[in-house]
């Protein structure tokens, strides 16, 4: 239906004797919300790290908008339009929320060493623009203005998660990778986040790749789900398909099976 934004084929990652990701193939269409699920240790975050250039895959190929990004540098991949959040929030603790989000736009700015020292008019204008853009991103995710200048580590947990998303958003990415964004959130906040994701897809045309454990969120928002277990893809398809898949239930045996809401 729409163009393929990101295509990963045959991605394998071995750390010495351990195969963390085993021949996973995967594609993300534009303007979609796609999920990866699986028990802990299934290799989901490792896969994210491969996509964003933090790890070099042992085998396989990844292309983004037709460009080969396998083994690319993380900052270059980000510049192409892939942004992410982290499983254990990785904000820059000694910066304010606003400054954290401004960092997200680093690759969209051009001020260099001398420009920064001299603060020429174009540099000043750029700073202002970046600051405003960051403030907008924060408000979009629901962070109130008076909190913008708070140190990131002083924010509440939910706010920190949202700042991280704003930081990723501020670079105007085409693909957003969210790693367990609703961890630690209460149901209301999870619903708000789900709505946010849908807005991002519909209003801003983003594609979102989601790692999640919260089945309600997954089932509610994903167009397509891929299930990993021990690094391998064991199932994929739409929400209903995946939920009914016996292998998936077995992978989660004893953990989620009894807690899944029908």
């Amino acid at each position: 239906m729409t163009d393929v934004l990101l295509d990963a084929s045959g991605v394998t990652k071995r750390f010495g004797g351990l195969t963390a990701v085993d021949d996973v193939s995967f594609s993300i269409p534009e303007r979609s919300i796609v999920s990866i699920i699986g028990p802990n240790g299934a290799g989901k975050t490792t896969f994210f790290n491969i996509l964003t250039g933090l790890y070099k895959p042992t085998l396989g190929r990844i292309s983004f908008q037709g460009r080969n990004i396998t083994s690319g540098r993380p900052d270059k991949i980000m510049k192409l339009g892939i942004a992410r959040t982290f499983q254990n929030i990785r904000l820059f603790g000694t910066m304010s929320a606003l400054e954290n989000v401004m960092i997200g736009q680093h690759s969209r700015m051009s001020a260099g060493l001398f420009g920064s020292i001299l603060r020429t008019p174009p540099v000043r204008k750029e700073e202002r623009r970046v600051r405003e853009h960051a403030a907008e991103a924060l408000e979009y995710v629901g962070i109130r203005k008076r909190v913008h200048d708070q140190l990131a580590i002083n924010l509440s947990y939910g706010d920190q998660r949202r700042v991280e998303i704003a930081r990723a958003l501020s670079s105007d990415p085409k693909l957003l990778l969210l790693d367990e964004p609703t961890a630690g959130m209460n149901p209301q906040e999870s619903d708000e986040l789900t709505a946010l994701m849908q807005r991002l897809r519909d209003d801003r045309g983003l594609a979102i790749l989601l790692i999640e454990h919260d089945m309600k969120v997954i089932m509610g928002v994903s167009e397509h789900i891929t299930v990993l277990d021990h690094g391998e893809k064991i199932a994929e398809g739409g929400p209903e398909e995946v939920r009914a898949n016996p292998q998936v239930v077995e992978a989660y045996l004893g953990k989620q099976a009894s807690q899944e809401t029908p």
Binding site: H106, S116, L151, N154, Y157, D214
Partner: protein, 397 residues
């Protein structure tokens, strides 16, 4: 998961978040007062006296400390070999502002924009301001070269590699009188390159070694320039990138910050300040000899940054002044007789190493965030908060 997990509340810290302790007007006022004091106070002291000498040295050290602050304080790259940049800046002055290269210009010497007496002497004699630019160029390149091997290393290994480079350059300085390079020696080893041209500015009386006040004002001008550069950089795209780098390298890269370029810029910029100060000191002290370039100097400058507050610009200024005063004034002059006053048989300078070491230990244990903490840093060093673990992981249910 069925059960509703309440969102953990991060306890708010006591310090007003993001702001310094003083209101903005007070900060401005204090800054102006400090700058005014720096300009006016030296007028009340004897231009040839010991105190004035200490003012000059303190100013030179402030420039160095601000340079190291960029590398260690902003970018978080633990550099234990900063003396290398002092050396390179000083030798630049030694090469281009003295009679060391006696055979230059076929014995007549090369002279660029200098006045008497230097313009008549053999050797290479170039205007001080140009030498400053040369020193900046040399140290920037050196800084990047030294930084290059450290790019993929972890914090403590960066310390060791930079330390090793500092030692290598120190050794080259000592043994340089054995190395012959284009018809002259590389350095003059421990004997030193001396005399070194005095600063020669247009429209101003010649600098001498008796009138120290003009030297101070040149050093102060350097301080003001360097402060300006620091403040501008800190609140810029590059400054933010450095701090992000310091906080969490992986997250920084994932946010589009090119690690190699950003680190090299930190090394280069920080080194440049050391180079300028080195060139200045070479002229002021009238010598460039290898004994000046030892590991203890690197630690001396690092201690200034830590005492003042890593990443805190004003803190580092204060730290530099305090340590300079202790090292060059209090210990050798003021408190020197203390041990003999209480019946012990040595003078205090023999203890300066130990006092210094003691200071470092005490600082780290009692107040690691420094005298004037970078407004943000106070959170990090005191409250047991790591950069990418600790608080955040603890909140995971």
């Amino acid at each position: 998961m069925g059960a509703a997990a309440p969102v953990a509340e991060t306890p708010k810290a006591e310090l007003p978040p993001g702001a310094s302790r003083l209101p903005k007007g007070a900060r401005m006022g204090l800054t102006v007062a400090a700058c005014a004091a720096a300009i006016i106070v030296p007028l009340f002291f004897d231009s040839g006296g010991n105190v004035m000498n200490n003012f000059v040295l303190a100013a030179a050290y402030v420039v160095m400390a601000l340079g190291l602050n960029i590398i260690v304080g902003f970018a978080g790259l633990l550099d234990l070999g900063y003396v290398a940049f002092f050396a390179i800046g000083a030798y630049t002055m030694g090469y281009f502002g003295s009679g060391f290269h006696a055979n230059a210009g076929n014995g007549d010497g090369i002279h660029i924009l200098v006045t008497e007496p230097a313009s008549n002497l053999p050797g290479i004699h170039v205007n001080f301001l140009i030498i400053c630019l040369l020193a900046i160029a040399a140290t920037t390149v050196a800084g990047m070269l030294i930084g290059l091997p450290t790019l993929r290393l972890r914090g403590d290994y960066i310390a060791i590699v930079t330390l090793a480079f500092g030692e290598i350059i120190g050794r080259i300085a000592i043994n340089g009188d054995e190395i012959h390079f284009l018809d002259t020696k590389l350095t003059n080893g421990r004997q030193g390159i001396t005399p070194v041209d005095k600063i020669d500015l247009p429209g101003v009386d010649r600098f001498t070694s008796l009138e120290l006040r003009p030297w101070f004002y040149v050093a102060l001008a350097l301080v003001f320039i360097v402060l300006f550069v620091n403040f501008r950089l800190r609140d810029s795209r590059l400054g933010r990138a450095w701090i992000a780098l310091r906080e969490d390298e992986v997250a920084a890269a994932s946010m589009g910050i090119p690690l190699v370029k950003t680190k090299l810029l930190a090394y280069g910029t920080g080194a440049a300040f050391g180079g300028v100060s080195g060139a200045f000191l070479a002229s002021y002290l009238n010598t460039v000899n290898a004994d000046q370039f030892q590991f203890s100097f690197s630690i001396f400058v690092l201690a200034m940054v830590i005492l003042g507050g890593l990443g805190s610009i004003w803190g580092v200024v204060v730290g530099a002044i305090v340590l300079s005063a202790i090292n060059n004034y209090l210990i050798p002059d003021v408190f020197n007789s203390l041990p003999s006053d209480i019946g012990l048989d040595f003078d205090l300078t023999e203890l300066s190493f130990g006092i210094f070491g003691f200071l470092l230990v005490i600082m780290m244990i009692i107040r690691p965030e420094g005298l004037i903490p970078e407004r943000r840093r106070k959170m990090e060093l005191v409250e047991d908060v790591g950069s990418d673990e600790g608080v955040f992981e603890a909140r995971m249910p």
